[in-house]
Symmetry: C2
Subunit: 216 residues, 2 copies
DNA sequence: CGCCCTGTTGACAAAGGTCAACTAGCGTGG
DNA sequence: CCACGCTAGTTGACCTTTGTCAACAGGGCG
């Protein structure tokens, strides 16, 4: 499952969008490739939602500005996920999205997507729209707050590190719903046990079994 | 927006599902009404996902069993939302769902839904399925942990109380990502300021303006 | 070479979790 | 109909965890 989520989509024939567009039987996919460098912007919260993307390769971090004006990362998206899909039900982007590593996204204009999705009142579109509406209305849920910081960090490392091996500490801390200081301390403890290696730049699992003990 | 979410769906002509099924032009909706009493089960995590529901009236609380075996409520769903939609992409229910008040749900069997949604490879279905897959994979995010307990409670009361006026304290506490004790203390403080009235049974906003001050 | 940014470490304070005792409300059974 | 006992909720005392503030350090870049 975790592997599935990480696996890049390398061809249109292997891409859900490509297949739905019928590229395997001579169709043409309405999505076009766009590349993003590390930390490059994909879309900006509040801007008119002109384009919707599907991630083919890489990872994108979604963030939303909180009440105090700060921008809080709250979710990571990988290959197969859409970015900006809320365009189907509302006019502006709900989140700011940024690539965490060199990424390939397939973009489609809102209007083209609208056309491509088929008639507005169809059952599958209705279900999609209701689902999107529900998630857009739902307040942002910062992070999985469950158990002490060390465990949360360990779990994230096990589940998600390969998706985003080079996230900034401040971003990771926000994703985990803690401060950079607390994250730093948690990493230090995990390092002491020999489960991971971490320099300022590096962050790697060296003893997966030991790390798994920490989450139990 | 908050009002929208609370408004019950009183007729098939006003129901997204009914409209998609074309009841306004003589069509027949494949969903059928089912009632649930307060606290009655809708579906059980891990069971084969035989039926999918759309909420027409009332509120449903979703919960998932945590690593330690306890069952943790994590989300509230209201009219227009689906329950058990993960059936489209996986065989078992991801969450346990329970009505928090007398509710009306429209149910459809998984197979009928599959048929009703139209051809499996269509664009809108693909987008729906990818969206569902992403949310199913995503770990549960307990609650909006943002600011001190009193503020979180105040915000919830303002935004959601009308959706679920009679939730149990333990459930509400879990939704807010805190213990029942902390919730109780927060309610006590809000009561002292005169913003709300709360007995063991009752929970009501008496001074909305004052409550809004508390979240700022 | 030095500056700047990001991350790390330390000391302290405060919020919230935990454990325990207590109470209100409700259903049950005599 | 009343007493009893159960469960959910409340309140208090204490303690752990995490956030906050501040000082410091490594690495990259001008």
């Amino acid at each position: 499952m975790a592997i599935q989520r990480t696996a890049p989509i390398t061809s249109c024939a292997a891409c859900p969008a490509g297949r739905a567009a019928g590229v395997t039987s001579g169709g043409r996919c309405p999505f076009v490739d766009r590349r993003r460098r590390r930390d490059e912007l994909v879309c900006l919260q509040g801007e008119p939602a002109a384009t919707v993307w599907m991630i083919k390769r890489g990872t994108v971090v979604l963030s939303r500005t909180a009440a105090d004006g700060t921008d809080r990362p709250h979710q990571l998206r990988g290959p197969g996920s859409f970015v900006g899909l809320e365009a189907v039900v509302q006019g502006t982007y709900a989140d700011t999205a940024r690539a965490t590593e060199p990424s390939v996204l397939c973009g489609i204009s809102r209007l083209d997507l609208d056309r491509w999705l088929g008639p507005a009142g169809s059952p599958s579109r209705m279900v999609l729209e209701q689902t999107l509406r529900a998630t857009v209305d739902e307040p942002v849920r910062p992070a999985g707050v469950d158990g002490p910081a060390v465990q949360r960090v360990a779990r994230w490392l096990l589940d998600e590190l390969e998706r985003a091996p080079r996230v900034q500490r401040r971003v990771l801390a926000a994703l985990l719903g803690m401060t950079p200081e607390t994250l730093s301390r948690a990493l230090a403890r995990l390092g002491e046990t020999g489960a991971i290696e971490h320099g300022r730049q590096r962050l790697a699992i060296v003893d997966r079994a030991r790390l798994e003990q920490m989450v139990a």
